[in-house]
């Protein structure tokens, strides 16, 4: 009986919520010697300002990641298609692209695109687009592999059936193969989006005002790395958990249709 009552108590969500509340309170106010939560305390004017300054970086983090992933999905698909050809030359093109791009660290690519590309191509490139370009190129190699695996997982009978009703290659891909492949690779695409959101923090090194850069700048002025970086962790956590839930919702929706 007692054990049961204890168990129910521990397993109930309200218990954990209350525990979290107590811990937060202790964290914010309780140990004021070690913690300096005042820097991001929404009750004070300066804390609010700091908090908004940090959260404002979301705009760029999300803008950067979403733009980059849209581009990388398109490029990835274009690179994947020659990879499933039965001829040799297109396959080689696919392999070379994937292997080369996959071998470059993202941080190195960001630096090269931002500082190197303008000299090579004599163009000026904004921080935002340098970041998008580097992230998109880097991710496209992975997207290409995901698409290739997804397309190859579709049964050969589907191609044959499409052929037996006279569909062209383009229509076969568009109406028969890709809709099924995308459904299957959706979890992997969700993973890539999460990965992209995290990797976008690297664009802070060229001065992009996204979440990480803002946190770094605030640390320099406020000297409270522990609190500020904790907020940063929470920011990424919230965004990514929301994205994950969104992807799962989409999966379920596609499952039932």
């Amino acid at each position: 009986m007692l054990l049961n009552a204890l168990l129910i108590r521990f397993l109930s969500p309200s218990f954990w919520l209350r525990l979290a509340g107590v811990l937060c309170f202790a964290g914010l106010g309780g140990c004021s010697d070690n913690w300096g939560w005042y820097v991001v305390n929404p009750a004070t004017e300066s804390g609010r300002q700091n908090l908004f300054f940090l959260i404002d970086g979301l705009y760029f983090t999300i803008g950067l990641s979403v733009t980059a992933i849209l581009i990388s999905i398109c490029v990835g698909l274009l690179v994947a298609l020659p990879g499933i050809s039965s001829r040799r030359a297109p396959k080689v093109i696919n392999r070379v692209y994937v292997e080369l791009v996959r071998a470059i660290p993202i941080l190195v690519l960001i630096l090269w695109v931002y500082y190197g590309l303008p000299q090579v191509a004599s163009i000026s490139i904004s921080v935002f687009w340098a970041g998008v370009l580097a992230l998109a190129i880097s991710d496209s190699a992975f997207q290409a592999e995901i698409f290739r695996a997804g397309i190859q997982s579709i049964d050969r009978g589907q191609y044959e059936a499409a052929r037996s009703i006279s569909l062209s290659y383009r229509d076969t891909m568009r109406f028969v193969i890709l809709p099924q492949a995308i459904k299957r690779i959706l979890p992997a695409l969700g993973n890539q989006l999460v990965y992209m959101l995290k990797m976008s923090s690297l664009v802070s090194v060229i001065g992009m005002q996204e979440l990480t850069r803002r946190a770094n700048e605030l640390v320099v002025t406020e000297y409270r790395p522990l609190e500020i970086y904790t907020v940063l962790v929470l920011e990424y956590l919230v965004v990514i958990l929301i994205v994950s839930a969104g992807v799962r919702w989409l999966e379920r929706r596609l499952e039932t249709s």
């Binding site: 049964d155 009978g157 009703i165 006279s166 062209s168 099924q180 459904k183």
Partner: protein, 250 residues
């Protein structure tokens, strides 16, 4: 062009097909006239499926030629056109498009490959769905239908392209026993309506009913060929006798 009266609709000449070293078809020759119903039987690996897959070029043969309606079947645009306009195929595993509803499965070919209006394609699809007796399931997905129903949808899908000849590759082999009859009934009805067909099957009762010509294959060769009456009662080759005695025993 040769004289249409003497020219068979499908002419298979000395066709050979290899899978690496394995000889799946060994110089097969065969004529199929419009309106004919050909049933092919034989042990597995004898090349029955390969033969009909070569006819609509799901496999490419190495030697020999296949002509349909006087046109050489190859990878050229004209070779592909003759297939598009004439040949329908039904598969052992149905191969319906699982992400599309029944009606969408049927409309896809006419709308995309024939540039037909959606409304027109829908009407056409409804006609064939009625013919295979599943017009009440048109908005379901393939997975919601039984195997027999799925295969009937697959037949309707092929018919929507209004082919002159239908190829059946073991259409009932993947079905539960109680669903075989409903599919064979549909094929039989189609045969009665005058459709030219080539059917690979082990259903000998059905073959006896429907076939004009029976064909027995073994090791990539046509071993025996003739009208069902003599084929079933007086097969000439020992190999065919043995095969028939084994599958007709039970």
């Amino acid at each position: 062009m040769t004289d249409p009266v003497t020219q068979p609709f499908i002419q298979v000449r000395n066709v050979s097909k290899y899978f690496q070293d394995f000889c799946a078809l060994d110089s097969v020759s065969l004529d199929i006239e419009l309106g004919q119903k050909l049933v092919i039987c034989g042990p597995s690996g004898s090349g029955k499926s390969t033969l009909i897959r070569c006819i609509n070029r799901l496999e490419q043969h190495e030697h020999g030629q296949i002509h349909i309606d006087g046109q050489l079947v190859d990878s050229s645009p004209s070779g592909q056109d003759v297939l598009r306009n004439n040949v329908g195929m039904v598969f052992q595993q149905f191969n319906l498009f699982p992400h599309l509803t029944i009606i969408e499965n049927l409309m896809l070919g006419p709308v995309r490959a024939r540039q037909m209006q959606e409304s027109e394609a829908r009407e056409l699809a409804m006609i064939y769905l009625e013919r295979v007796q599943i017009s009440d399931q048109l908005n379901k997905y393939p997975a919601q239908l039984s195997g027999g129903q799925q295969q009937r949808v697959a037949i309707a899908r092929a018919l929507c392209m209004t082919p002159k000849i239908m190829l059946f590759d073991e259409p009932t082999s993947a079905l539960d026993p109680e669903m075989i009859a409903e599919v064979l009934d549909v094929i039989e009805e189609l045969a009665d309506s005058g459709m030219t067909m080539v059917c690979v099957t082990h259903e000998m009762g059905f073959a006896r009913q429907v076939a004009d010509v029976m064909l027995f294959m073994d090791h990539g060769k046509i071993v025996e060929m003739g009208p069902p009456k003599t084929f079933f009662t007086a097969p000439k080759s020992d190999r065919c006798k043995l095969f028939l005695s084994q599958i007709l025993r039970h």
